[in-house]
Symmetry: C2
Subunit: 345 residues, 2 copies
């Protein structure tokens, strides 16, 4: 259990040469004589020498570590996203420092702080639901640590981001439903302050506008994403004088809760009332009633893209683009309508 890792110094002392000679010999520098070079390289191999990356990174002021902060890794969307991030990272020899915000801005701030301390080369983040204040993140950029947002992105322009255009996706969704003959289309939207919520709402309204129809606000409900809140929303929709024939849920989790409640009310799911949703989690295919149609948001692709952007930024920085105007990457990914195979039965 000899935990002293061999260093360049150790080798130098043993061979009675200077550390710089050892360093150069190991790097195959032309200024070192062949004899010395082989002596050094042989001893290095014998001692199982490995350069201390910590020391090198410290000197280079670079860690090859990217911080990744997600709301909840247990959500399949994010676990897929991190896999995309990891894939791109691995391809470029970067590593991932991981943290969750649990949708708590305080916690998010703390994790950001930790990552700053660890001197990550960059930060990829999907914001917590409650985050309204972006100072802790903008501060990072001021210090030269680039931040790439994905999926849950901030509302301002001057930031690198990757996201799905859920406005368009929602318009398509509404269109599709109209096309299938559904007229009373309700939406159970997310927390009102969330940009993602506004995007869906706007798409929803736009979908109606295209048909020269006005939205009946009785068909618009919100949930704080808890099961209870979703139950309440469905209850309210079902109790309306002219109840919906289709329900768009904020995401697959809301969808599942909504279906659960409707089922308790003895409603024939996807017959009396059809359910459609966002996210298209593979896991829904195992549920009793998957959404008839889902808007795929490509979490893996978003993650991958976010990391690729990060790497571009870091490379640009090395090539000294200082002084030039900062360009913000803004990657809009398609949001595709996906028909559930099972539902076709």
């Amino acid at each position: 259990m000899d935990n002293k890792l061999p260093t360049i110094k150790e080798i130098a002392k043993r061979l009675n040469v200077s550390v710089s000679t050892v360093s150069r010999a190991l790097a195959d520098h032309p200024r070192i004589g062949l004899r010395t070079k082989t002596r050094v390289q042989e001893l290095a191999k014998e001692l199982n020498y490995e350069p201390n990356a910590q020391a090198i990174f410290f000197k280079q002021r670079k860690t090859f570590v990217i911080g990744v902060i997600l709301p909840y890794i247990r959500e399949e969307f994010f676990s897929q996203a991190i896999s995309g991030i990891e894939k791109a990272a691995m391809e470029h020899e970067y590593t991932i420092l991981f943290g969750q915000s649990f949708d708590d801005p305080e916690r998010e701030k703390k994790v950001v702080e930790t990552m700053k301390k660890q001197r990550v080369d960059g930060l990829i983040i999907s914001l917590s639901k409650q985050t309204q204040n972006y100072e802790h993140l903008q501060a990072l950029e001021k210090f030269g640590i680039p931040v790439v947002y994905f999926d849950r992105v901030p509302p301002f322009e001057h930031a690198h981001k990757v996201y799905c255009n859920l406005f368009k996706g929602t318009v398509d969704m509404v269109n599709w439903l109209f096309g299938r003959g559904y007229k009373r289309i309700a939406i159970i939207n997310g927390p009102e302050k969330l940009p993602a919520t506004k995007e869906r709402l706007n798409g929803y309204i736009e979908g109606f506008s295209k048909k020269k129809l006005k939205v009946d606000m009785q068909l618009v409900e919100n949930t704080d994403l808890s099961k209870e809140s979703t139950y309440r929303a469905v209850k309210s929709l079902l109790a309306s004088k002219n109840p919906p024939t289709a329900i768009i849920s904020f995401n697959d989790y809301v969808h599942m809760d909504a279906v659960q409640y409707a089922q308790q009310q003895n409603i024939q799911i996807n017959k009396d009332l059809v359910f459609v949703s966002y996210a298209n989690l593979p896991i829904t295919s195992y549920t009793a009633h998957p959404p008839l149609v889902s808007i795929e948001q490509y979490p893996y692709g978003q993650g991958e893209k976010a990391m690729e952007i990060m790497i571009s930024i870091l490379n640009d920085k090395i090539e000294g683009k200082t002084g030039q105007q900062v360009v913000y990457y803004n990657e809009e990914m398609p949001a595709t309508l996906v028909l559930n195979q099972q539902s076709l039965l």
Copy 2:
């Protein structure tokens, strides 16, 4: 714009004092005068100074980073586990370097290598299904980097591990089924080489032995965990002359596939044939037919425990237990039978 992060040096220069004074002032050292102290602390706050952990850790030869390698983060079991790991890590100011093996030993090896280069203080790992060779991990320990295994642990004694006793859990499960009057109890087990598979099988056999019964090997099937393989296993069971009245699935994913197939064969799930399983993923409560009973394996608890053990090991090392005999932590967690609420309907 591209301001470098403030350093202790920068503060020293601005206030015209030495770096050591700044360092001590920030650490609230008693030998620094109150006036100097406040001047330093105020400027530090103003500049948003954060100590460079890289530098400190480099000097201390410690990173406060723990590598975590999981097979698939998208499995809820592991995403819960990492949350437990993260919680314990945060409490002790450790951070997590994340990697997935995707159940590929080659990939696992590569990730281990990366973590070694990054000089993690320790490694927490749940082995890939295929891992048979442990050299890359034992080498880490030789370098003084402790390894804690959880859930999917290696078969040898001299390793720190956290796991559930699925042998006992399976015995309990079989007992419970007998108690409910089920006599033809089948099991769809995992890949034969997996220790977890053997454990389940032994528990299954023991459960029968306790009732002075012999196992009918026709009731024992294996799956490689793919949907197709599971389908095949169920098909084989259903085709038997004396088909089972209860099926124990290797885990909830196998369970879901098994149920899906049985359903396609027009079997009344949990009536004609009851299904029970391991893992107890919350997500199953949304499925059409959750397992009647699940063996809870406490992924969060396992992760938390693994990190706590890691921290104990690291603390022991600091306190210089060198020379003493190495003690291997071996934490066996209970595997509890959980009755599904929904199934009671």
